[in-house]
């Protein structure tokens, strides 16, 4: 009987207890705080070296990296604004040079610019679509190439329940998040034969800076009667990134305390 350690070594070596060391790395966009930071921690705990992308919050991202490193994980903070067209090449290229090919891509970076449709400015629409949807497309397109070659890959798009049901004041965000779900499905069927899975998670009301100050009646409307935590979303992303989810593709996992049930 082989010991657990021997089995882990056969699978590619072992570092910390139970953590399987991986070929390649995971890249999480918008990972300096909130849900993205929790996802970075989850993937690091699963043995992935993690590229922690941030746009402006350098201190936050470096804090996350330091925390992951103190637990024995490899991590790297990479500044990049995903809404810029050139970012995909630079971001993936840097992650590849430093940590190895990106085998797990988590498109998490997102912005909001809320307002009733009648009052939404073109720039509010464009900025939200660009960051939340077009950036995910460009990063995925760039990431698929090495994944196809490796016959393995995980793309996980962080959508939202707002992409599944109405939320007044967020027409731009809703369109982007619903677009992300349709994008997920379509890409999933295109690459399924190459061992690459593409899935989405749709968080409901999660306690982060993005939702700070929203409380009261909204929480009453959640069957679970409480907001979710970033860790609860990260756990679902961790599952979709894992070998256990190898036959799950094209789906959207809602993480919403029953909101859309």
């Amino acid at each position: 009987m082989a010991t657990e350690v021997e089995e882990a070594v056969r699978e590619g070596g072992t570092e910390e207890a139970g953590a399987r060391s991986r070929v390649g790395c995971a890249l999480v966009t918008g990972a300096s705080r909130g849900i993205g930071a929790a996802i970075a921690a989850e993937l690091a705990a699963a043995g992935w070296p993690v590229a922690v992308n941030y746009r402006a919050d350098r201190e936050g991202a470096e804090g996350i990296v330091a925390g992951l490193e103190s637990e024995g994980a490899r991590a790297l903070a990479i500044q990049a604004d995903v809404s810029e067209a050139e970012t995909a090449e630079r971001l993936l290229g840097t992650a590849e040079d430093e940590l190895g090919p990106v085998m797990v891509l988590v498109n998490n970076a997102g912005v909001t610019a809320d307002g009733l449709s009648m009052r939404l400015r073109d720039e509010d629409w464009d900025r939200v679509l660009e960051t939340n949807l077009s950036a995910a497309f460009r990063l995925t397109r760039r990431a698929l190439r090495p994944m196809m070659k490796a016959r393995f890959g995980r793309v996980i798009n962080v959508s939202s329940v707002v992409g599944l049901r109405a939320n007044a004041g967020q027409a731009n965000y809703a369109a982007a998040k619903a677009g992300l779900i349709a994008f997920t499905r379509t890409v999933a069927v295109e690459v399924a034969r190459r061992g690459v899975t593409v899935n989405a998670v749709a968080p409901g009301f999660i306690e982060t800076e993005l939702t700070a100050g929203i409380e009261g009646p909204i929480v009453e409307a959640i069957p679970a009667r409480r907001p979710g935590t970033p860790r609860e979303v990260a756990a679902c992303v961790g599952f979709l990134a894992s070998d256990a989810a190898s036959y799950v593709t094209g789906t959207t996992l809602t993480v919403d305390g029953g909101m859309t049930a």
Binding site: R145, M148, K149, E190, V191, R193, R194
Partner: protein
């Protein structure tokens, strides 16, 4: 890095066949005149084949090039022509 500047037609053909085998084709019977339409080669395979060619031979393959490709010989001809 493209290191195959002087690749012969035979070498290119062999690389294409190797790629098709990776995609799940049976090696037996694959030859220059084999038509993709008669094989189990679909659009995803062609896109990946184009990427392999781009990466390994350092040339660019456009979608319009792919549209014209019907056989292994067509691919070999395209690559040798671009490398010349």
């Amino acid at each position: 890095m493209p290191e195959t500047k002087g690749a012969t037609k035979e070498q290119i053909e062999e690389r294409v066949i190797e790629a098709l085998v990776e995609f799940g084709e049976e090696r037996d019977g694959l030859k220059g005149s084999s038509k993709f339409a008669d094989l189990d080669v679909d659009s995803l395979d062609l896109v990946e084949l184009a990427q392999i060619i781009e990466d390994e031979y350092g040339i660019e393959v456009q979608d319009t090039d792919l549209d014209k490709i019907e056989t292994i010989d067509d691919v070999t001809a395209l690559v040798s022509q671009r490398l010349a």
